[in-house]
């Protein structure tokens, strides 16, 4: 408040103070006067944006008017049966391999952090091996496992009793080999992500859980991992999106994923650029879908950290009040 005479103060009544007064006088119920100021103009931003838009338009036009691209073919192939089957295989490989990767990775991370030296050594050895050899080689080895072990045998090694056996090539087809190669490799990488998440959780959380009488597994599952998820999800989203494209490696074992199918097509019709664009459009679309999913997952696991918690808390309070109302009525 600017210093003013007592009369001036009392005479203000309900009228807003003339200028500059941010706060209402003591005991008064005046609304604060908003600060009117001209914001700093960022002319550089406008210029930068204009340049970027200009370049984008130029690029799109250069594609649209390019005589070397036949847009009809892109439209034609975008929803062709061959493409859609490829999209399906790519999605299927990604989802199943990531599922194996995440479950296996979590297991490996917990094992590696375990006090049990046997478990942590197994996890360490697994990660060392599967991270240390090319995923392409791993896919090929699974695909040609039959050359090494023609028969898969369920029994006790060395001593001999056999309970069941089957021909390797009949059990591990191209898809299975792809999934095994991609999934088991991913587990090794995911293990390190999950481990990073787990060790990012404050040690006090574990102590609090232990002091309440919770066991190791319970503490990990319901206290540590849910908090670790906040840290794990962004890089795990990265891994998933990366897997979407890495899955194209199954082309070496006659997989039928998106990129492989389109490559086969352009090997015959030579519309290389068009079909690669089709592939890009689909990969971008799938990546967008995954990013949206990741956004919601992140929102869920940052409960207690984010800003929208008040909302959720109110909904909970309401639900509980409702429940109590019902149980009271019965």
């Amino acid at each position: 408040m600017s210093a003013s005479s007592p009369q001036a103060l009392s005479s203000q009544g309900a009228a807003p103070p003339p200028l500059g007064g941010g706060a209402a006088p003591l005991g008064g119920s005046l609304a604060p006067v908003p600060v009117k100021a001209i914001p700093v103009r960022h002319w550089g931003q406008w210029v930068g944006a204009a340049v970027v838009v200009y370049l984008l338009v130029a690029f799109v036009l250069s594609l649209a008017r390019n005589p070397n691209i036949e847009w009809d073919i892109i439209g034609d192939y975008l929803f062709k049966d061959l493409t859609l089957r490829g999209v399906w295989v790519t999605l299927y490989l990604t989802v199943v391999s990531m599922a194996i990767g995440i479950v296996g990775g979590t297991l490996l991370a917990v094992m590696r952090l375990s006090d049990n030296p046997v478990l942590s050594s197994i996890a360490y050895g697994y990660i060392w091996f599967f991270r240390g050899t090319p995923v392409l080689v791993q896919i090929l080895v699974w695909a040609y496992l039959g050359a090494l072990y023609p028969e898969l045998v369920l029994g006790i090694p060395i001593f001999g009793p056999v309970f069941a056996s089957a021909e390797t090539n009949a059990v591990i087809g191209a898809t299975a080999a792809g999934i095994l190669g991609l999934g088991l490799n991913e587990a090794a990488y995911a293990a390190e992500l999950v481990r990073a998440g787990i060790i990012s959780v404050d040690k006090g959380q574990q102590e609090a859980a232990l002091s309440l009488g919770m066991g190791g597994g319970q503490t990990m599952w319901s206290i540590i991992l849910p908090q670790a998820m906040r840290v794990i999800i962004p890089p795990m989203g990265n891994e998933t999106i990366s897997m979407l494209k890495t899955s194209a490696l199954v082309s070496v074992i006659a997989g039928h994923d998106l990129l492989t199918n389109l490559q086969k097509a352009y090997a015959q019709n030579f519309r290389i650029m068009e079909l690669l664009l089709v592939a890009c459009i689909w990969y971008l679309f799938l990546t967008t879908l995954l990013s949206i999913g990741q956004h919601y997952l992140e929102a869920y696991f940052s409960r207690g950290f984010g800003a929208q918690q008040a909302d959720r808390a109110q909904r909970r309070a309401f639900k509980r009040a409702q429940r109590r109302g019902e149980s009271g009525a019965v």
């Binding site: 404050d202 006090g204 959380q205 102590e207 609090a208 859980a209 232990l210 002091s211 309440l212 009488g213 919770m214 066991g215 190791g216 319970q218 319901s222 206290i223 849910p226 908090q227 696991f301 409960r303 207690g304 950290f305 918690q309 008040a310 808390a313 109110q314 909970r316 309070a317 509980r320 149980s327």
Partner: protein
């Protein structure tokens, strides 16, 4: 609350102790090392049911370590430690100690509540969920019953209007009161407080101490590590001064805090009270 009968006053060990009932905490010559560093060098401590015992002493004197040994968050390297008549973390057969399994230790811990300096509430759970968690998943209580008890406990620590709020939205004092409610939810026989007010803004210390005094008044057995001399004078039955890994002096607060006998106690008190 200090006992008026001098024969019943708290002591450091069981030698010639007039009380014949089972002590809640019995620490007998406990040693603890971290590598080469000896943190506890033969500590004796006896806390009887219903007593509030305050551990005082300079930083690094072994107070917090002593507390963490009581619920076996730290393994002891020597001596014996019983809670409610049970040897913590071990089973004794003849002269041989056998380590207990993780589950058995967890069972022992579930009867001992602990409150931490930095609260350690579960940030992804609301206040209510924090308090309900252990009764439901450790004690196997039904959700409905656990919820009712949790609501009553949160009401008792003065947070009935904060049940659906996440810890991140609460002040330090409120978080610590939720943490006390969470520990009480398991119906512990003993409560351990590890510097419960040290991480709080000065104006929030009072509300937490108030809840603790009420607990002490209600007859809870408590071992409290704190620098709040006022709390010790007002609410403690016994006070022990730990320095250099040993109990320098112990007894009722009126003796130890008002008329200390040991030089180290005098030095410590003069530093704290100045």
């Amino acid at each position: 609350m200090a006992q008026s009968d001098p024969a019943l006053q708290p002591r450091c060990d069981m030698k010639g102790h007039p009380r014949t009932d089972e002590p809640m905490v019995h620490v007998d010559g406990v040693w603890k090392r971290f590598g080469k560093l000896e943190v506890l060098k033969g500590v004796d401590l006896v806390v009887f049911p219903g007593e509030t015992y305050v551990l005082l002493g300079p930083s690094g004197g072994g107070k917090s370590t002593m507390l963490r040994c009581i619920n076996h968050l730290e393994k002891i390297d020597g001596g014996r430690l019983w809670v409610d008549g049970e040897l913590m973390g071990y089973r004794q057969k003849g002269d041989v100690l056998h380590e207990l399994k993780v589950k058995e230790v967890a069972k022992q811990r579930s009867k001992i509540g602990m409150v931490f300096q930095r609260f350690n509430l579960f940030p992804h759970m609301t206040a209510l969920e924090n308090v309900m968690k252990a009764p439901v998943s450790v004690a196997g209580m039904s959700r409905q019953k656990a919820e009712n008890e949790a609501l009553a406990l949160l009401d008792r620590v003065g947070l009935a209007d904060k049940v659906d709020v996440y810890p991140g939205q609460l002040s330090g004092g409120q978080q610590q009161r939720v943490a006390i409610a969470r520990a009480l939810a398991m119906h512990p026989k003993l409560m351990l407080f590890d510097e419960p007010t040290s991480a709080l803004d000065p104006e929030l210390v009072g509300e937490v101490l108030e809840v603790m005094k009420q607990l002490a008044h209600d007859g809870m057995t408590m071992v409290v590590v704190t620098h709040e001399i006022g709390f010790a004078k007002e609410a403690a039955d016994g006070v022990a001064l730990l320095d250099g890994g040993v109990v320098v002096e112990c007894g009722p607060p009126n003796d130890v805090l008002v008329n200390p006998q040991e030089e180290r106690t005098k030095v410590f008190l003069s530093k704290v009270l100045s």
